[in-house]
């Protein structure tokens, strides 16, 4: 079966949306999807931090985020939490980077363990990516 493997490196809200929308799209169209959360991306899987990322590299001291979130609500964009729940329901796999956990002093119990399927390192990513027709670094 076709697979999409995405490295989620950024913790910025806009990039997290891109990663989750692409992964959900792949699952919806009959592919498998694996997301490898590392660095600032993994930080968003710490309990209570999902929505705490900056809007983007163009954050403008938080004002941009406030405006864009308001527009997103008006446009009825799904929340990051819904996209993660959908991803899990459709069989998407989430891998947490163990090196990031060591560097940032994050323990398993600090993370959203309900979402994470595996804890791994570069070898886990390569094993997923070598069978994937779509690989992205976001």
């Amino acid at each position: 079966m076709d697979k999409a493997t995405i490295i989620v490196h950024s913790g910025d809200m806009d990039k997290l949306y891109s990663a989750l929308i692409i992964a959900n799209g792949a699952l919806s169209m009959g592919m498998e999807a694996s997301l490898y959360f590392t660095f600032w991306g993994l930080e968003r899987l710490v309990k209570g931090k999902l929505e705490k990322g900056a809007l983007s590299a163009m954050n403008m001291l938080g004002l941009g985020k406030w405006m864009v979130k308001r527009r997103m609500k008006a446009t009825n964009v799904a929340s990051l939490e819904k996209l993660l729940q959908d991803l899990k329901e459709l069989g998407g796999k989430i891998i947490a980077c163990e090196m990031t956990m060591e560097i940032m002093g994050i323990k398993r119990e600090d993370l959203r363990e309900d979402l994470i399927d595996e804890y791994g390192a570069v070898g886990s990513y390569i094993q997923e990516a070598r069978d994937s027709s779509i690989t992205l670094f976001i």
């Binding site: 929308i21 959900n24 699952l27 169209m29 959908d86």
Partner: protein, 73 residues
């Protein structure tokens, strides 16, 4: 054989596609899933997903910006 209705009117990318897939996963072989929505791109993208999944698109209707797709699992 059941007929399952999914209403994604007013929802935007990727919700119509995702909700369609969720309903199709839960459906039994032979069931018909009827999806109603307003997101323009989904009207052409859901049929692409149906084809990729090897399922049958029974018909597509549209009236005043509201489309309805029927899919047989």
């Amino acid at each position: 054989m059941a007929e399952i209705k999914v209403d994604v009117s007013g929802e935007t990318c990727p919700v119509p596609l995702v909700e369609t897939r969720k309903a199709l996963r839960k459906a039994e072989t032979g069931d018909v899933v009827e999806v109603t929505g307003t997101h323009p791109a989904s009207k052409k993208e859901i049929p692409m997903a149906v084809k990729a999944l090897g399922l049958e698109l029974i018909d597509v209707e549209e009236q005043d910006g509201v489309w309805m797709l029927r899919i047989r699992k």
